[in-house]
Symmetry: C2
Subunit: 196 residues, 2 copies
């Protein structure tokens, strides 16, 4: 499960971000990168706001992609997409065979999340998915030694850190996620908004 492996500079990475919560359906964007350098493809799919279909939608989007055979890793921007549509990263890993790195700008406020989940009839199921995403580790990226937080499955700590450093070349956020964010906000709002 926590194996380290050789990280090639052009390792194919899929970064997934979601768009603003304007409708019942929320667009998710996947960017296929070679390392931190070069965007090779763009994927688009839709999940339900506050639904529980993010994991399955991502699995389908990835397995249907012509890039699937070349992908080596999935990067997520946190594990809640489209509101509280939580991603089961163990299932994502198991079904795609691709290790998952979850990147977070700050340590999640679990009190707040748990409290919000009380409004959902299946709040306990969502909370269990969040809990089993595992340990949150702090990581200092190459860029200004800014710190981010990560969770991971299917990949060792050393390989995960290597991949984060390889791809965080423009900001403290890895390129596949930075660019997925630019595309998702640009498409929905007419112009991208930065946070990276």
């Amino acid at each position: 499960m926590n194996s380290d492996f050789h990280v090639k500079p052009e390792i194919r990475i899929l970064g997934i971000d979601d768009s603003a919560l304007l409708n019942e359906k929320v667009m998710i964007i996947g960017t296929v990168f070679r390392g931190g350098d070069w965007i090779d493809g763009v994927l688009r799919s839709e999940i339900t706001r506050d639904g529980l279909d993010a994991t399955e939608t991502m699995i389908t989007m990835i397995k249907n992609s012509r890039h699937y055979g070349q992908l080596r890793i999935i990067m997520l921007d946190g594990i809640t997409y489209g509101g509280f549509n939580v991603v089961d990263i163990e299932e994502l890993y198991r079904e795609t065979g691709l290790p998952v790195i979850v990147v977070m700008r700050s340590y999640p406020d679990f009190e707040k999340i748990r409290s919000a989940l009380r409004h959902f009839s299946d709040g306990e199921e969502r909370w269990n998915i969040i809990k089993k995403a595992g340990k949150i580790e702090k990581l200092f990226t190459g860029r200004n030694e800014a710190s981010i937080y990560i969770q991971k499955t299917g990949i060792g700590a050393k390989s995960a850190e290597k991949i984060i450093r390889l791809t965080s070349i423009r900001s403290s956020i890895p390129e596949p996620l930075r660019v997925a964010h630019l595309i998702a906000t640009g498409i929905i709002l007419g112009e991208s908004r930065g946070r990276a």
Copy 2:
């Protein structure tokens, strides 16, 4: 009009491509690049299929962008967008103050275009816009010495060639256009399709 200027490696370029013709409204995507390296922003707007609103829509999209003050050049993928919605590159240059480089993979088939325009009541107006886009020049890019064709306004031949070479690092097509194409096709079709 045909001035050459110093081309910085991180010159801000806006590349614009359109999406597939699936509906009456056709999405156009702008990518803001620093040279050929780094995507800084994504713009999105809509034009009418076979309409005559591409020029005005692009002018509005560009002037409303928070990147406007930093942009130095516009790159187009041919001058017909969304079917036969022709772009008046002189007007685009005049209204935005930004020089325009039009990139084409092959020499346009003017016979075919003129023939198709006969089906439009304002075909003569569209033909005039196409004619005044000016001379088409062949250019060999750095990449495998593949040849492309360009038209330009507001920029000299040397500067235009420098910018094309600076940005054609992954294929014979400049990065701002290659990536705008990936985004436009990815969003509309669910997965990007390459031609670059």
